[in-house]
């Protein structure tokens, strides 16, 4: 309960109206800072990235990203810097390793499985019955086919 109250207090307290805007890096480096910032989770605002949030904690972390970029650190080194402090929690997209593969590949499995099922439905035994082969209406002249269909559909 106390921890919760504290968390709430922290959320309410964390705003620094006094702090003014930061100096930015040259455009190319700054773009990299923003891109990296979008990958790290702001500790206070929970769902947002440190690039999206304007809370002091996010600003502090983004400034550190700036400093690390200025020092010439690679993207991987900067990621490791945050993971070594806040754990995997800091990464907004989970590392593709261990059980986390499930999050990345689960939807792919679903698409493959579903695609297979659809293919089977479309080519299934029912599809080759005689009824399916006989079209309901005789094929009209090719030019009018589209108009005929639109008309038929619109009349329903």
């Amino acid at each position: 309960m106390i921890a919760l109250a504290l968390a709430t207090a922290l959320m309410l307290g964390d705003y620094a109206p006094q702090k003014m805007a930061e100096e930015m890096l040259p455009p190319e480096q700054e773009a990299r800072v923003q891109r990296l910032g979008e990958q790290f989770r702001c500790p206070i605002c929970q769902g947002l990235s440190i690039a999206a949030s304007s809370s002091p904690a996010a600003r502090a972390e983004l400034n550190t990203v700036r400093a690390l970029v200025r020092e010439g650190k690679t993207d991987q080194e900067i990621r490791d810097y945050f993971v070594s402090r806040y754990g995997e929690w800091a990464l907004l997209s989970p590392k593709a390793e261990g059980v986390n593969w499930l999050v990345w590949l689960g939807p792919a499995f679903l698409l493959i499985g579903g695609g297979f099922t659809i293919a089977r439905t479309l080519r299934g035994p029912k599809a080759s019955t005689a009824a399916a082969k006989a079209p309901a209406a005789p094929p009209p002249a090719e030019e009018d086919e589209y108009l005929r269909r639109v008309r038929e559909e619109a009349d329903r």
Binding site: L10, K19, I44, A57, T64, R85, Y86
Partner: protein, 181 residues
């Protein structure tokens, strides 16, 4: 149909187990941000004293236990804990060094805040929050307990009270042994 229904049923059972387990957890732990530096050496820092401008580095502090209290003038909960931290500095100042660290603030505002209360320990100025992020803060107030060998023994998140402060100071600087037969 049958096969995917059983897959769905399996997923549903898993989901129920997950939610059931989630309810058994302490709700406060949900918002807790992991802190991986506990028990690890404190990252090196080099900042200045807010009042005197003199440099203060982690290297200078090696060999003695110290407490770092991150705070800001705009932070409501910080105002609540100042008295407890000041009490700690006065009570344990002989065994442990206390430092305040100004977090995401302007020097003017921090100094003005300090004139409003009695503070007996030095305040550090961390202009770009590099020290704060190196130490893996998540906001203010947060209080770090670092032992003589430079290991972060604990971090306290939120306004600290006397009891917690006394206990955590005890972990980095055991009370001097009384003479025993």
């Amino acid at each position: 149909m049958k096969s995917w229904l059983s897959i769905a049923a399996l997923a549903a059972v898993t989901l129920m187990v997950v939610f059931y387990r989630a309810f058994q957890k302490d709700p406060g732990s949900l918002r807790e941000v992991p802190f991986l530096l506990k028990g690890k050496p404190a990252p090196a820092f080099a900042v200045t004293d807010l009042q005197t401008g003199a440099p203060v580095t982690s290297e200078q502090l090696r060999g003695q236990p110290y407490v770092l209290n991150f705070w800001a003038s705009w932070c409501g909960p910080c105002q609540v804990e100042h008295a407890a931290v000041e009490w700690g500095a006065r009570t344990y100042g002989d065994r442990v060094r206390f430092f305040g660290v100004v977090y995401e603030d302007t020097q003017e505002n921090a100094k003005r805040d300090l004139t409003r209360r009695a503070v007996s320990f030095p305040q550090l100025w961390d202009p770009k929050s590099r020290m704060a992020v190196d130490l893996a803060t998540t906001g203010v107030p947060e209080t770090y307990f670092i032992d003589a060998s430079g290991i972060i023994m604990d971090k306290y998140v939120g306004p600290i009270d006397r009891e917690a402060l006394a206990y955590l100071v005890g972990r980095i600087a055991p009370p001097r042994a009384e003479a025993r037969p």
